[in-house]
């Protein structure tokens, strides 16, 4: 009896000790979990918005912003960039991948450049590619671990509907996932019969593989009627309608503020510019890669821009950018501006955006512009001092030109855009640029890192 009594005391003491330690461990886990911490912030922010705002916020889902933008296949035995406006390949892929569920864990099967390039050049796969890397955790159903910050930018759709491969251009890794629920038969058929097939070779640049067009292309010039939301629309969406103060600076820009922590810089009314800068000051650590992507989606929804053509374009350090894609080609604004660029730092979140809305597409009138083979452009840039080793990415993009025949009418003219020294510029702009400063800065950063 005496022995039993002592055992009970011991067990009670042990149990109390265990539950206390467990609560400390669980508490630490919650407080250090980046994803949870970030989501708590979002929940608080969401609670402050009105019911109507929440309802109106997300016309479209995460999937619409994170649709792969380019597709490649081997319709005639050679690697080609594929495009078909009637049978939209990337949309078809997205419809099916939404239904897919991972059956087992992600398995790394390739981690060498040679093997990676074999996959890139294998006719066995249709490739759907994002402009930059995203994380596995972005789409929960393909990944069983919510905190997996491993990245990929390329889907390899095999001939089997049960296996899909995800490639990361940066580190030459390919991951294999067994899936169920998706059927890519129609995608493969579309890829085989795509109307536009531009022969390409995938060339490794600083930030992955870029398509090098081997022949001249007649790029179509598209036209759009555009409009812009008024500044008051963005002020009310981002700052609300009460307690907002404003101050106009010498340049005519007005800064609207809400309680010192939230600001919106609005362009001068008569400047003809439509670039806004939203800043929210908040002491915080920079979110993980997945949360940077998710948080940027939250801010894109908050802006209230038309998201019909808006796609994820670039994720660079603490920046996440979005551009409008028209007929599979990204649209750069004001020569080289991005539509939305979110920047995360330890004391603030900045969202730079342009209010342009591509409202009404105009039927194609037959106007085209010749686009040179990519290697010729690279050679031209090299002769101007921008070497291939300095180029991070090269893409065909649209530059916007105002059409004088009607107010709000713009023409989208295709040209090459190059990312170098972390900046996007058209080839024409790079050719006019004095690269000495860029090079000096780059060298000082490199030597600083070496030390």
């Amino acid at each position: 009896m005496k022995f039993r009594f002592k055992l009970g005391d011991f067990l009670l003491g042990l149990g109390t000790f265990i539950v206390i330690v467990l609560s400390i461990v669980l508490w630490i886990f919650i407080m250090t979990s980046d994803q949870r911490f970030s989501n708590i912030g979002q929940q608080n922010q969401e609670n402050t918005t009105t019911k109507e705002q929440v309802r109106n916020r997300s016309v479209k889902s995460l999937y619409d912003l994170y649709i792969p933008t380019t597709s490649y296949g081997f319709p005639n035995g050679n690697l080609c960039q594929l495009y078909d406006s009637k049978n939209n390949l990337t949309l078809e892929f997205t419809k099916e991948i939404k239904k897919a569920k991972a059956v087992n864990k992600i398995k790394k099967i390739v981690h060498s450049q040679a093997r990676y390039q074999e996959y890139l050049n294998s006719p066995e796969y249709v490739q759907l590619v994002y402009p930059d890397e995203i994380t596995f955790s972005l789409f929960n159903q393909l990944n069983k671990s919510a905190n997996d910050n491993r990245e990929f930018n390329r889907f390899f759709v095999s001939k089997s509907n049960h296996w899909i491969y995800l490639g990361n251009d940066q580190n030459n890794e390919i991951y294999q996932i067994k899936i169920k629920g998706a059927n890519f038969d129609r995608l493969r058929k579309y890829a085989q019969n795509a109307k536009s097939k531009s022969p390409v070779r995938l060339v490794r640049l600083k930030e992955g593989y870029s398509p090098f067009y081997s022949r001249e292309i007649d790029g179509k010039v598209y036209s759009y009627l555009t409009n812009h939301q008024s500044y008051s629309y963005f002020v009310s969406r981002l700052l609300g309608t009460s307690g907002v103060t404003s101050k106009t600076n010498k340049n005519g820009q007005t800064i609207y503020s809400l309680s010192y922590y939230t600001r919106l810089k609005v362009p001068a009314p008569k400047s003809g510019e439509h670039n806004y800068l939203y800043t929210h000051y908040e002491k915080n650590k920079i979110p993980s890669a997945t949360n940077r992507l998710l948080d940027s989606v939250y801010y894109v929804h908050q802006l209230g821009l038309t998201e019909q053509d808006l796609r994820f374009f670039d994720a660079d350090g603490s920046n996440v950018s979005y551009l409008n894609y028209i007929e599979g080609i990204p649209v750069f604004l004001n020569k080289h501006d991005l539509q939305v660029k979110t920047t995360f730092s330890t004391d603030s979140i900045n969202v730079a955006f342009n209010s342009i809305n591509f409202q009404i597409p105009i039927p194609f009138d037959g106007q085209t512009k010749t686009i040179k083979p990519t290697q010729d452009v690279i050679d031209e840039l090299a002769s101007h001092g921008l070497k291939q080793d300095d180029i991070q990415r090269i893409v065909i993009g649209f530059t916007t030109e105002k059409d004088s025949s009607r107010h709000g009418l713009i023409n989208l003219v295709p040209t090459y855009y190059v990312k170098a020294y972390d900046e996007w510029k058209s080839v024409g702009e790079w050719e006019k640029q004095d690269l000495t400063t860029y090079r000096k800065f780059s060298e000082s950063v490199t030597s600083g890192e070496a030390k």
């Binding site: 005391d9 009670l12 003491g13 149990g15 109390t16 539950v19 206390i20 467990l22 609560s23 669980l26 508490w27 886990f29 919650i30 994803q35 949870r36 989501n39 979002q42 929940q43 109507e52 309802r55 109106n56 997300s58 016309v59 479209k60 889902s61 995460l62 999937y63 619409d64 078909d84 406006s85 009637k86 049978n87 939209n88 949309l91 997205t94 929960n140 919510a146 009627l225 998710l294 948080d295 989606v297 939250y298 929804h301 038309t306 019909q308 053509d309 028209i326 007929e327 599979g328 009404i360 597409p361 105009i362 039927p363 194609f364 009138d365």
Partner: protein, 274 residues
Amino acid sequence: MDYKRIEWLFFIVFLLIDIYLGIEILRSPVNLSNADTTTQSVASIRSEMKSDNIDLPESISNTPDSGYYLATKNRDYLSSKVSDLTNVTARYSKTDNTLYATPKVATNLSKNKKTTLKQVNEFKNDPKNVPYGKQFKYEPDMSSADNYMFVQTSDYGEIYANVAQLTISVKDNQITNYTETYMGPASPVRELQSTISAWRAIRAMYTDRELTNNSRVARIKLGYSKLTEVRGSTILLPTWLVWVENKTTKNVTLKRVNAYTAQMLQSSTYNVER
């Protein structure tokens, strides 16, 4: 003894804290995509609508659809066809681009509704009666006992616009006349793009107060509506067409929601008197 009580108290309190923290961790992280929140919001908005006495169809799809921007060339497609219409007396009005016609010989229609519709369809499909007749499809929700309404079809879907419809009038079991407008063949202006779901369109209408209290959503369908005219072409875009019935007056109104942006298309309602 007191010490033991305190120990029990600590044990129970911390056990409860552990359970709470465990549940917090097991709860899936909040996703910013609206995909995860839809189930919850569908139920709550449905119940809000129910309390506003708004009736909805049993099932409304929550899956996004897809559609194109379409364009048609602005031309007088019907004027050149008047000479082919040997069975009717026809006149084409250039001012409103409309063909007006009256049958030369009276056709006796059945009193049975199904048979009447079949006979009207046969009349419409004969190129000596109606030009491009086979490109028009019967639309029951825009028709009444005296007027059989048909909408123009295209390879990409039906067009719901005043400039693309055929109305055949019937009186005393005979076709009395018809009016026809025709837009010509439609072709895509841009690539196939995803649209919002039917449910999202209903939600947008409700939050924009386009669904009034004491009404019933009779039908919802994806179809093309006229957006604007530019550079000699008419631009069409995919819209969610929602037939809303006023429960008291029984009047049916056709409303349109831009299927890309979820915004209401203004001045596009169409009333059907029952």
